[in-house]
Amino acid sequence: MSSVALRELTKQYAGNAALSLDSVDLEVAHGEFVCLVGPSGCGKTTALRMIAGLESVTSGDIEIGDRVVNDLSPRDRDIALVFQSYALYPHMTVFDNMSFGLKLRKVPKDEIKAAVTDAARILDLELYLDRKPAQLSGGQRQRVALGRAIVRNPAAFLMDEPLSNLDAKLRVQTRAEIARLHHRLGATMIYVTHDQVEAMTMADRIAVINLGKLEQVGSPRELYDRPANQFVAGFIGSPSMNFVPMHVESIDGGIRVVSAGGDMDVILDDVDSAMIRSTGVSDVVLGIRPEHIDTQARTGRGLQLRASVDVIEFLGNDEHVHLSSGSHELVAIVDARTPLTIGDSLTLSASSEAIHLFHSETGVALK
């Protein structure tokens, strides 16, 4: 098990003006599970493939353990990659698929057998060792792909959206299995996905990437509570955060942030007010998560909004309520027992701590 580090890693494909990866810095500690998340095409798979050695480095360094591995071919990097499409050898049995790497390294037969049966037991594949991939289900194939990686005992596991080809139920199941695997093996894992739920549930830390740039790295809680910018704030959490453009006003004793129609306003406490005043911005974007809006009455600091109910989605314990506040639309999650009907006008609020403010141009988090 090793650490992996990316230092100012940059990738530009020939003929493209844009950078697929723009100076990404990331340190994955020994034994850590880090997720690379982002929308399609953001560069996360490119980064993973560069760590594996399947794509060349334009500039920057990749370190595995203490070595810079930029010029090493994949076979010399001691990493294992689980492909999105599993990439199993179709003409080999499950056993041969998993033992191929060891056979190439001339590991003695009995050691190979031990390693493979071990991995097969962990992954519940013992009954399938003689089958060929074509005879397996999607979930089983995925486990063989994992098994192939485990057997190699690599310095780091790289996984490229391994769950995206599975159906929803299997996905949830396998998510837990991978997490269990991680704890059992204590392995360094770098996991690429576009699904923030997977990232949140499995990772020690998450790296959010957008258009080749690293937006933020942090633990799931950090990313949830303190997103560094509007992109991360909107990417993490489901349903996603509500964003409303607001205007900053000075009132005696503090700062008031108001929406265009005046239906929403936020009163900031002294610390936050001072901070906002010091930045000198006059336009901000308010960010508030649906789960933080409720029908409690609050006075003083925090968010107040007057809205009418458009749609109510009943989800058993909660209701997702789609609201209109002036010209803005928001989603709030409230307790299902709250008496609401479509067309109701009501006042909702959120506490000061739950409010995020973002610079309207750069999207950087101010609060």
Partner: protein, 486 residues
């Protein structure tokens, strides 16, 4: 009381009416089907009729012909088949087909594979592929003619023999007086006067000579053509040279005085361009020279001592004998065997030459098919192999090729079928003398059935055998292709 006839008429009428009710609806339905489909059926009719007449019926007829005698008048059962397996010419055809099947499909698939794999990495792949594929477009007849020239025995015509000659000359340049190995000539057999055979195919003067002396050596059995080509003149008796050795080598054969083998006669010729060495008493060569057009030579400034003159072996070096690629000499050692065994076991050299040309024609086909299969491979599996630690050779051998197995099989089997029917290339590439030894089944059908009139018995039997060989293979191949294609 009712009138019986009236009641009867009612019954009849009602029965008929019922009958009509049942009958009437059926007729329009049938009529409609025909009307709807007659165009469709008319579309396919020409094709069906054509196929029935020229493919289906003749196949059945051939089977029938194979069971009848040559003029198709008398039923002879399996007699024709028996004679097929006992006729040497046809057994030779079988053998040749076996040779083709054993060698050609493997090599053409192998070359197609290698080329397809390598072509993935170059920029000019399209141009390259066009070059390799092109020969398929030429008729096998034209290709056979081209390769016939290439394999021609004469080094002035055939590239292969020209290259062989260059290589052979580089190793052993032919001498001015090449021995005729076909009749077992050796240097010794040429010795006539004062010459004796020595080690390494050289000729040594019997008499020793000292500086200031002369030597004369005579050879025979030199062809007059050689003498003419070399511009041989009348020999001149050698003059002594102080401190040197002079001498003469001449063709000691006079048509007028055949028994005189010791002195020069006027109608004899000197031997020009002979390379000579002066050999001292210890046997080492101290000088060398070449005879002039009258056969005279001299060594000057010779140290005192006793010497012999040596005619170098290189003078007698046989000239280049080309390889008769288009010939029927067997690669396998079968010269001692009886006729039938030879038919079955000898492998004529021309088979190899033809197979090489056929590979030239068809490798492009293999390359295109395998290239398509290669492009359809899941790249990620190859990447997985690389990550697992495989070098690209290992990846090729243990992952790529097994994954290509279906395509490789289709190519291989298609080529087997192709080769079972091989005809054009033999007819055009084999010279008359090699036609028999190089014949194949398809050629036998043509020769037996169509030369000198039409004979249907044995030729049809061969055709049936060919059919039985080809059909299962093709059927299997078809299923593979249909199973694999989308």
């Amino acid at each position: 009381m009712e009138r019986p006839s009236a009641r009867g008429a009612d019954v009849v009428t009602s029965v008929v009416a019922e009958g009509l009710k049942v009958a009437a609806p059926r007729a329009p339905r049938q009529h409609g089907w025909w009307r709807r489909n007659w165009v469709s059926l008319a579309f396919i009719a020409p094709g069906i009729i054509w196929l029935l007449a020229i493919v289906v019926y003749p196949t059945i007829a051939t089977i029938r012909f194979s069971l009848y005698n040559e003029s198709a008048t008398k039923f002879v059962g399996l007699h024709n088949f028996a004679s097929v397996f006992s006729t040497d010419t046809i057994l030779t055809a079988f053998k040749n087909n076996v040779v083709w099947v054993l060698i050609f499909p493997f090599f053409v698939t192998f070359i197609g594979l290698m080329v397809a794999v390598l072509t993935e990495r170059i920029r000019w792949a399209t141009a390259f592929k066009a070059i390799i594929v092109m020969p398929i477009v030429f008729s096998t007849t034209a290709s056979a003619l081209v390769w016939r020239t290439i394999f021609d025995l004469d080094p002035h015509v055939g590239v292969v023999n020209a290259i062989e000659q260059t290589v052979s000359d580089w190793f052993s340049t032919p001498g001015a007086y090449p021995l005729n190995s076909a009749i077992g000539q050796t240097a010794v057999s040429l010795a006539s006067f004062n010459a004796t055979g020595a080690t390494g195919g050289t000729l040594l003067s019997k008499s020793a000579v000292q500086p200031g002396g002369t030597v004369m050596m005579g050879l025979t059995r030199i062809s007059s053509t050689t003498l003419q080509t070399l511009g041989a003149k009348t020999p001149v008796a050698p003059q002594t040279i102080a401190g040197g050795i002079a001498g003469l080598v001449w063709n000691d054969f006079s048509p007028s005085q055949t028994s005189n083998t010791t002195t020069i006669v006027s109608d004899e010729h000197g031997l020009p361009n002979l390379r000579l060495s002066l050999v001292n008493s210890t046997g080492s060569s101290v000088a060398s020279t070449v005879t002039n057009s009258s056969g005279d030579f001299s060594f000057s400034h010779v140290a005192p001592g006793s010497y012999h003159v040596e005619i170098q072996a290189s003078n007698f070096q046989t000239s280049f004998v080309g390889t008769f690629w288009l010939g029927s000499q067997s690669i396998t050692p079968t010269s001692g065997l009886n006729q039938t065994a030879q038919s079955l076991l000898s492998v004529p050299l021309i088979d190899l030459a033809m197979i090489i040309s056929y590979i030239w024609i068809w490798a492009g086909f293999a390359m295109v098919l395998i290239g398509a299969g290669l492009a359809a491979l899941n790249r990620e599996v190859l990447e997985a192999a690389e990550i697992d630690g495989a070098t690209e050779w290992q990846t090729l051998r243990r992952v790529t090729i097994p994954m290509l197995a279906p395509v490789l099989t289709v190519v291989f089997v298609t080529m087997v079928i192709n080769v079972l029917k091989v005809f054009d290339i033999i007819l055009n590439m084999a010279p008359g003398s090699s036609q028999g030894p190089a014949t194949t089944l398809a050629l036998s059908i043509y020769n037996d059935g169509f030369t000198g009139g039409i004979h249907s018995g044995v030729a049809s039997a061969i055709a049936v055998i060919l059919f039985l060989l080809v059909v299962p293979v093709m059927y299997w191949n078809l299923r593979k292709i249909k199973g694999g294609s989308p």
